[in-house]
């Protein structure tokens, strides 16, 4: 199976606090990989290193390597801006930009220099369809994105990140504030997307990881405790701590 992201001995600290203590993991192409673990386990920090959004934090020290295809995004001379054209990000809370649904999705493509209305129309429709939002939005493209419900906003954010035509999508607890129906819609959308994209899903919801991810990794206190196929991790974990977390004994 083809490896899309290869992380080697990644150490990250904020000031004196070491958040990641040398994590190595391979993320496979066109699969959904779930990162789970209790708060403070370093899983969100890990994905913020992959898209280099961590550059906007202060007092960060990073060691190790993250290869995406053959490029080391930590050490090679790479612009965060061009990196993030290949990596879409969805945050824990839906953050629509204060403008219309259409302009939210067209934001990224316009930055790339696409200004033709006909091309943008296609991108907007395509992205909304992939995020399972087209049906609800096709007649309301010009309303303010702030007027949508939380679940719709989060699918809008997913559609917005797809509009850049990335290869990788990172989702940082995307359903943490959503109701079960909205969560199900996001999960359906993600399952449909994995044929075209490499997806990392960070979630505290182990059931969600079990439902839709192909591979799962368990993080604890800045270390990766166990990694394997979701089936193996959830039915027959090798580590006691993984078992304990999954059965709700701690975390």
């Amino acid at each position: 199976m083809e490896i899309k992201i290869q992380i080697e001995k990644l150490k990250i600290s904020f000031g004196n606090i070491e958040v990641l203590k040398g994590v190595s993991i391979n993320v496979y192409k066109n699969r959904i990989t779930g990162f789970m673990g209790p708060a403070g386990s370093g899983k969100s920090t890990l994905i913020s290193a992959v898209n280099r959004m961590i550059d906007y934090e202060e007092n960060v020290k990073i060691e190790g390597k993250i290869y995406i295809d053959d490029i080391d995004v930590i050490n090679d001379d790479i612009e965060g801006v061009s990196l993030r054209r290949q990596i879409g990000t969805v945050f824990a809370v839906p953050i629509p930009l204060p403008r219309s649904v259409y302009d939210n999705i067209a934001y990224g493509p316009r930055l790339k220099g696409i200004t033709e209305r006909s091309k943008l129309d296609i991108i907007v429709e395509d992205s909304l369809k992939k995020a399972f939002l087209w049906g609800e939005m096709k007649d309301r493209l010009n309303i303010s994105a702030l007027k949508l419900s939380g679940g719709q906003q989060q699918r809008l954010c997913l559609a917005r990140s797809l509009a850049l035509k990335p290869e990788i999508i990172l989702l940082d607890e995307p359903c943490s504030g959503l109701d079960p129906i909205s969560t199900a819609k996001i999960e359906d959308a993600l399952s449909g997307l994995k044929n075209e994209y490499t997806i990392i899903l960070v979630s505290n919801n182990t059931k969600q990881i079990a439902r839709i991810s192909d591979y799962s990794a368990f993080f604890y206190m800045g270390e990766m405790i166990e990694y394997g196929t979701t089936e193996k991790i959830f039915t027959n974990p090798s580590e006691k701590r993984t078992e304990g977390y999954l059965s709700g004994k701690f975390g």
Binding site: M53, F91, V93, P98, L111, C157
Partner: protein, 278 residues
């Protein structure tokens, strides 16, 4: 004896109402006085003709033009300069001793009485740089005077834009500058506009700083190097030298109406911006 809490509530409400009415009342009395005393003398000729006999007769057209030129040019200079400074302070530097010094300087400048700006403008622009009493010296002095207001209000407006919006913009592959121009400034626009409005008000009503730098010539300021007179200065001279109280009130009514007009236009623009970016 316990006082009925509902009674206290009533007293407080009554008191607050009285304070609000008092404040609005003063405003109404001032505007009404100006209206009653100025309105009878306002006509087409007053607005569109030149003053005669030091302003005893004739109109105020040159000083209307002088006011528009002074205010417009100062705002056009000060807004980009002030907003730029605010962007630099909030987006492009980290909090440091240096930014604290700049901020302290800006705040101190905001508190200086305008006559000191006038004196500075007179010594520096009018005499040292040999500009003479001129529109240019007036514009530069007024610009310096309103700059602190624009910087402070813009900075507050930019700071209040949530950090999350910036992060989303970066995550969608925007550069810092793209994020500032496409997300931060539009979201901060109503706040920035408020600062610009306050500054327009200050520049329109300013006399001390203007009279020392732009002078008080009754002619049209035909070029940047010409002296001229704003409506506020005209009003001041008419009233202070007892030339004509009627014309003074009429001038001040035009002044008030023009500020009202500017406010209406600004709110119209602000609503357009808000409806696009919300």
């Amino acid at each position: 004896m316990r006082v009925n809490p509902r009674f206290i509530d009533k007293i407080v409400k009554l008191g607050l109402n009285a304070q609000a009415f008092f404040t609005v009342g003063i405003l109404i009395v001032i505007v009404a006085t100006i209206c009653f005393k100025g309105f009878p003398y306002i006509n087409f000729e007053f607005v569109f003709s030149s003053p005669e006999d030091m302003g005893r007769r004739g109109g105020i057209f040159p000083s209307i033009i002088g006011t528009i030129l002074l205010v417009m040019l100062s705002i056009l200079l000060a807004t980009p300069l002030g907003v730029g400074t605010a962007i630099y302070l909030t987006e492009y530097t980290k909090e440091s001793r240096f930014t604290k010094i700049i901020r302290f300087g800006v705040e101190s400048l905001a508190g200086i009485p305008s006559i000191l700006y006038g004196l500075f403008g007179f010594i520096f622009f009018v005499i040292k740089l040999k500009m003479g009493w001129s529109l240019l010296a007036g514009v530069l002095t007024t610009t310096i005077m309103i700059l602190p207001t624009i910087i402070r209000t813009s900075e507050e407006a930019i700071k209040s834009v949530p950090r999350n919006l910036r992060l989303v913009s970066y995550s969608l592959s925007a550069t810092k500058w793209e994020t500032v121009t496409k997300v931060v400034i539009p979201s901060a626009a109503p706040g920035i506009l408020t600062g610009v409005m306050l500054s327009i008000g200050r520049a329109v009503g300013e006399t001390a700083a203007v009279i020392f730098t732009m002078g008080s010539s009754l002619r049209f300021p035909a070029s940047l190097m010409d002296s001229g007179r704003t409506m506020a200065v005209h009003f001041y001279i008419l009233a202070r030298e007892g030339i004509s109280m009627e014309k003074a009130y009429a001038t001040s009514l035009i002044l008030v109406l023009s500020i009202l007009l500017v406010n209406i236009i600004a709110y119209y623009i602000m609503n357009r911006v808000i409806s696009k970016y919300s």
